[in-house]
């Protein structure tokens, strides 16, 4: 099980991300409108030394399109290391639906409310 906390109307989870150069603890916001796995800002991607994999097109909240560099890295997730795609986006790290696939997400939406992410059987 993965746990987090609700703060200022955001569900936040701490996550350990591994790159080729280093390993970082980050705090990410769960965003159910984000369909990829994880986004990280460019400076964190450089520090981790993530491997560049591809370019793809994404749609932003205002309906506009943008081109995104996608990297590869791994996260510690539910006690296991998972290899994932990581989108470069200059915002706070976001956890998207692809990372949550196969899991149940519960959140108590109030200040300091609990966030729990449990594997579905």
């Amino acid at each position: 099980m993965i746990t987090g906390v609700v703060r200022l109307n955001e569900a936040r989870v701490r996550l350990s991300v591994n790159g080729r150069l280093s390993k970082h603890q980050i705090e990410a916001v769960i965003d159910t409108g984000f369909t990829a796995s994880l986004s990280l800002p460019p400076d964190v991607i450089r520090k981790l030394g993530l491997k560049w994999r591809r370019v793809e097109r994404s749609i932003l909240a205002d309906g506009s399109e943008c081109l995104v560099d996608v990297f590869e890295g791994s996260v510690e997730w539910n006690g296991k290391t998972r290899r994932i795609s990581i989108d470069e986006a200059d915002t706070d790290p976001l956890i998207g639906m692809a990372l949550l696939k196969g899991y149940e997400l519960k959140m108590q939406i109030r200040s300091r409310g609990k966030v729990t992410i449990k594997r579905l059987r």
Binding site: R57, S58, I59, A61, G63, V68, D69, E72, S85, D87
Partner: protein, 175 residues
């Protein structure tokens, strides 16, 4: 004497990961799977041909595990010259160039060959060579293409969608 020592150091067995080793006494120092004489390049070629992982494991009589194959795919790519060098890739064109060339290749060479069951799958296109791979998994499509074209400059497309992913926004389905 010094020269001799340096020579010795260079020739030592080196573990590249839990699963992969470079040993001058095995396969002329080409990367192999630990405890085997199976060259990483041989397995990567099978992955590139789209052979299922179970079948690859069986082919090498269970001496190469699925985890070892996954590790090899993650760490190594085939290089055109000798098929066993590490080939770190960097983006060599602007993102706009990727979109322009990638979309053009998709429209002319990929889309005509797609079936309705491919809807929602991912297409990884190398904008340099025009080679592409289709897979239900996005990393799967990229891995197969990179195994085939080591320095692939990949543009990823999701069949049936304008964009691969959404940050909160979505395409309007109706006017």
């Amino acid at each position: 004497m010094l020269k001799y020592q340096r020579h010795m150091v260079k020739k030592r067995r080196k573990l590249l990961s839990r699963y992969i080793v470079v040993d001058p006494n095995i396969c002329h120092g080409k990367p192999t799977f630990v405890g085997t004489r199976v060259m990483v390049a041989q397995v990567l070629r099978q992955v590139a041909r789209g052979m299922p992982r179970d079948k690859i494991v069986a082919e090498w009589r269970n001496t190469v595990s699925k985890q070892a194959i996954a590790d090899a795919v993650k760490r190594m790519t085939l290089s055109p010259e000798n098929g066993d060098k590490m080939a770190p890739t960097e983006r060599r064109y602007s993102k706009e160039e990727f979109a322009r060339r990638g979309d053009a290749i998709y429209e002319s060479d990929v889309a005509p060959h797609l079936k309705s069951r491919d809807n929602g799958k991912f297409v990884a296109i190398d904008i340099d060579s025009g080679n592409y791979e289709v897979d239900a998994d996005e990393l799967g499509a990229c891995d197969r293409l990179s195994a085939r074209v080591p320095s692939a400059q990949i543009w990823l497309v999701r069949v049936g969608s304008r964009a691969v992913h959404r940050f909160g926004g979505r395409e309007r389905r109706s006017a």
